[in-house]
């Protein structure tokens, strides 16, 4: 396959950046998208040019590193995959492929196609955990959990934090990511203890970082490589409303310490 690539090139976080057109020839339809990028980079290196910087790690759809906005869609044209799972047979010989980094104010471009997704880590730090003492592994069935809840929680926990939801959203909203992280705990008894505090803090952090608001458009759900449902967003809204209206205020003087 012979292809024309229009790739966003940006030297560093402060430089302006522009699209550069490259031709790649004799690409096997069975190669993956990232292998095609590797071939391009090898040719760039042999020509003494700077290779295109892009994030990648596991190359099996688990890590969520390979953030590329391909022809107007995060992770390209296929449903429920990451870029590394995309194959060149999805394109036609002679196609032009436009490759861009995620675009969102909280995801600044570091170089070429690499963006800084620290914003997601900050949201997790704000409440995406449960406070338990470390120790031996608890017995698996010590706390009985209905299968339905366990399944929904596991579905939410499938989120790999790739940021495709933010990239796809016309508002660069992080609602799907945050709602998955809120839901995976809110559905389980271990997570209920800090549920109100968690949703308040994570939503506040999301807003502070400058992500957009949710318009219930559904682009996030359509592009999520792990098919996280926007029903999680509704759950987060519920959790948030209940936390605001009904949850008891945490008592600072409680507990055994001071």
């Amino acid at each position: 396959m012979n292809l024309t690539l229009k790739i966003w090139r940006q030297k560093n976080a402060t430089s302006k950046g522009k699209f550069v057109t490259y031709k790649v020839n004799d690409i096997s339809p069975n190669s993956s998208f990232l292998e095609m990028m590797d071939i391009l980079n090898e040719s760039l290196v042999t020509r003494g040019e700077d290779p295109v910087a892009f994030d990648h790690d596991c190359r099996e759809g688990i890590c969520g590193a390979c953030s590329m906005y391909i022809n107007g869609r995060p992770h390209g044209p296929d449903k429920a995959i990451t870029t590394c799972q995309l194959h060149m047979r999805r394109f036609k010989d002679g196609d032009t492929i436009v490759i861009e980094p995620w675009r969102a104010r909280p995801f600044p471009v570091l170089k070429d196609l690499i963006v800084d997704r620290t914003a997601f880590d900050k949201i997790i730090q704000a409440g995406g955990y449960i406070s338990v003492n470390t120790g031996g592994i608890p017995d698996a069935n010590a706390i009985p959990i209905p299968k339905v809840d366990a399944d929904l929680s596991m579905d939410a926990a499938a989120c790999i934090g790739c940021g495709a939801c933010v990239a796809a959203c016309k508002n660069a909203s992080a609602m799907l990511f945050v709602s998955a992280k809120v839901s995976q705990f809110a559905l389980l008894p271990q997570g209920r203890v800090e549920a109100a505090e968690r949703v308040n803090n994570m939503v506040a952090e999301m807003d502070r970082l400058g992500f957009g608001n949710c318009t219930n458009t559904g682009a996030c759900e359509a592009e999520c490589p792990k098919e996280i449902s926007i029903s999680n967003i509704a759950r987060m809204n519920r959790e948030f409303l209940v936390a605001k209206l009904a949850a008891p205020k945490p008592r600072v003087d409680s507990g055994g310490g001071i």
Partner: protein, 220 residues
């Protein structure tokens, strides 16, 4: 004030105001359809009279104004934040599978708002502050709101303007009911598809019902 609220709080207020505005549209449409009744505008004028004299309705009118203002102002605030969240746009974008009209709520909303001002000047302010024709019903004198409507809709440009306006209202409503429920946290594997259907039905029935009035008046 609006800037300090969290994104979810803003969306919840937006949804509640929106649902209230939908209920207003249904009442408004119900009364308007009375004008198509062939009784010399009697029932329409009686209904209009009830609406301007009933104290409950008059109080609700202020709530309605509040609802409009909240919905519009929050809509603008949310949209500005959304635009700011992506300072650099994509070269190629929007190929994700999404609900179509949801992407243009601010645009359809702006069109609806612009025409709303013309609409208020034409009818609401005219009836409130302007000179009104009168009609005798059962020996009592009533303001003839119906005549005002019928005279306006004898003009083809007016009729066309209203049809276009109401089409945009329909587009806006297509992403209204189910979206409001989602914002309020009401999502259900079985009932959410129903809510989508209700949303589409409301859009077609409300916009279609309103469009019927100027078109039928113009034809007759």
């Amino acid at each position: 004030m609006a800037l300090k609220y969290s994104s979810i709080t803003k969306k919840v207020i937006m949804a509640l105001a929106g649902l209230f505005l939908i209920s207003f549209l249904i009442v408004h449409l119900g009364i308007n359809l009375l004008i198509l009744k062939n009784d010399g505008r009697e029932s329409f004028n009686m209904a209009a009279h009830f609406m301007v004299t009933n104290p409950v309705i008059q109080t609700m009118q202020w709530v309605l104004f509040g609802g409009f203002i909240l919905h519009i102002l929050l809509g603008i605030v949310l949209q500005l934040q959304n635009w700011m969240a992506r300072p650099q746009r994509y070269k190629v974008e929007g190929y994700s599978h999404t609900s179509f009209f949801s992407k243009f709520m601010i645009h359809t909303g702006a069109v609806i708002f612009a025409f709303l001002i013309i609409h208020l000047v034409n009818f609401f302010f005219r009836a409130k502050f302007g000179e009104m024709p009168h009609i005798m019903i059962n020996g009592e004198q009533y303001e003839d709101m119906g005549l005002l409507v019928i005279e306006k809709f004898r003009d083809l440009p007016y009729v066309l303007m209203y049809v276009v306006w109401l089409l945009f209202l329909g587009f806006h409503l297509d992403h209204a009911f189910h979206s409001a429920l989602q914002s309020l946290g009401l999502n259900h594997s079985k009932y959410t598809p129903v809510a989508f259907g209700v949303s589409r039905a409301l859009a077609i029935l409300i916009a279609g019902g309103f469009i019927l009035i100027p078109v039928l008046i113009f034809i007759s």
